[in-house]
Amino acid sequence: MAILEVENIRKSFGSVLVLDDISFSMEKGTVLSIIGSSGSGKTTLLRCLNFLERPDTGIIRVNGETLLDASFPARDFQRNIRLKRLHFGLVFQSFNLFPQYTALENVTLAEKLLAQEKPDWKEKKSEYHRAIEEHGRELLAEMGLQDRMGNYPHQLSGGQCQRVAIARALALNPDILCFDEPTSALDPELTGEVLRVIRGLAERHTTMIIVTHEMAFARDVADEVIFMDGGKICEQGDPKEVFGNPKQERTKQFLSRFSET
């Protein structure tokens, strides 16, 4: 069964149609790359999946459970929206780390706050905290940041910040981890360390949707590629096919522009 099914998502900002009837699905443990020029709707699509935007039409299902049906009233969208979001993780282009918290605190804060909602929180507070901190340490170590746990974001490089952000998103064990151009705000020499971490997650079959301008990376790491243009899915398929032998004229144009630069 597909872990994620997206059906007929439409989204307009004013009179501008940003997403035009987007439908796709993906399997658990796979990586989906979304490519396309700026303004093609990639980021808006990710924001819809994370309920930061409400689509005008469409359905989003995770593991068969309907999280969003835009034909239902807006009230239904807001109801439990906080818990619906936890199916997805989101890594932002600009990291959005919390500046007043250390790397470790950034990773553990949300988990600690969620633990407060557990019925036995009061009795087992210190046990929860210990387990959550341990989990946070493990995640940061996985990201190669074992020496940076006590550092504040301003003391970290961009690449380190983005790796903290990835650990923070992983801490809540989302079904699907989304990346919104995770290396676009980084100096070129720092993109490698972030891409390596994402590659490592792919090898461990983390379900991921990656919006990126790193074409070589998208081709290597993805099981499936979607090329978006003008708010529509223009071409979709196996990365080798889409990159090696694009069928649509628009895809060819887009990819040739990338190989030139």
Partner: protein, 227 residues
């Protein structure tokens, strides 16, 4: 009377006056900071008429001299409605001055709070939201400290200005330190024609603003662990 005889008398009067100055200062802070927060929240509400009302109030209060506001608030009820709302005497003058100062400073604080809250990048909200945080958690656990850090310099400016602005209450004869200093020009407690007590009040303001400057520098340093 020689200077050494005058000095303790003047000091006693100035101390009493300065106590009134400090009372007005602290009451204003105590009232204006919470009221400023309420106004800031109202100014960010999605209810347009409320925003318009608060914006107009802020424009009028910030756009006219505090001295005029003091005079209007003190004299208006008695002159126009024939109801001396404030009563006579020092306590009435103090109440009128406190109301004028609280309203005036709340409007300045309101704009500082609003700017501080709106200046936090929207990405902080979004990061909190996708991590399943509640709106209150996002505000108190993520944004509040960043807001405090951002508004500390303008707030310290306002507060240092406030300690000096309290002297405007002299216009309704509140017996604060300027009034106390001035009294020795006209004559008081056997001293008359002395201008040095008025000049000497400056020392009190300098000490007070000096202390405030040190306190705010310490606070800023405390919050310098993040950027």
């Amino acid at each position: 009377m020689s200077f050494s005889e005058q000095f303790p008398i003047v000091l006693g009067s100035l101390n009493t006056g300065f106590l009134q100055t400090l009372r007005l200062f602290f009451i204003t802070l105590l009232g204006a900071i919470p009221l400023g927060m309420v106004l800031a929240v109202g100014e960010m509400s999605s209810f347009k008429p409320l925003r318009a009302v608060i914006r107009t109030l802020v424009w009028i209060i910030r756009g006219s001299p505090l001295m005029i506001q003091l005079l209007i608030i003190f004299y208006f009820p008695g002159l126009v409605f024939q109801t001396p709302l404030w009563g006579g005497g020092e306590s009435g003058r103090f109440a009128a001055a406190a109301v004028a100062f609280v309203i005036n400073y709340a409007c300045y604080f309101c704009e500082i709070f609003r700017g501080g809250i709106q200046g936090i990048p929207v990405g902080q909200d979004e990061a909190g939201m996708v991590l399943g945080m509640k709106p209150a958690q996002i505000f108190f656990r993520i944004k509040l400290l960043q807001v405090v850090k951002a508004i500390l310099p303008p707030i310290s400016n306002e507060i240092i200005t406030l300690i000096k602005d309290t002297s405007l209450a002299r216009i309704i004869a509140l017996q604060e330190i300027i009034w106390a200093g001035q009294s020795f020009m006209k004559g008081s407690q056997g001293i008359s024609g002395a201008i040095w007590p008025l000049f000497f009040t400056g020392v009190y303001y300098l000490v007070a603003t000096g202390i405030l400057t040190i306190v705010f520098a310490k606070l800023e340093k405390k919050l310098s662990f993040f950027r």
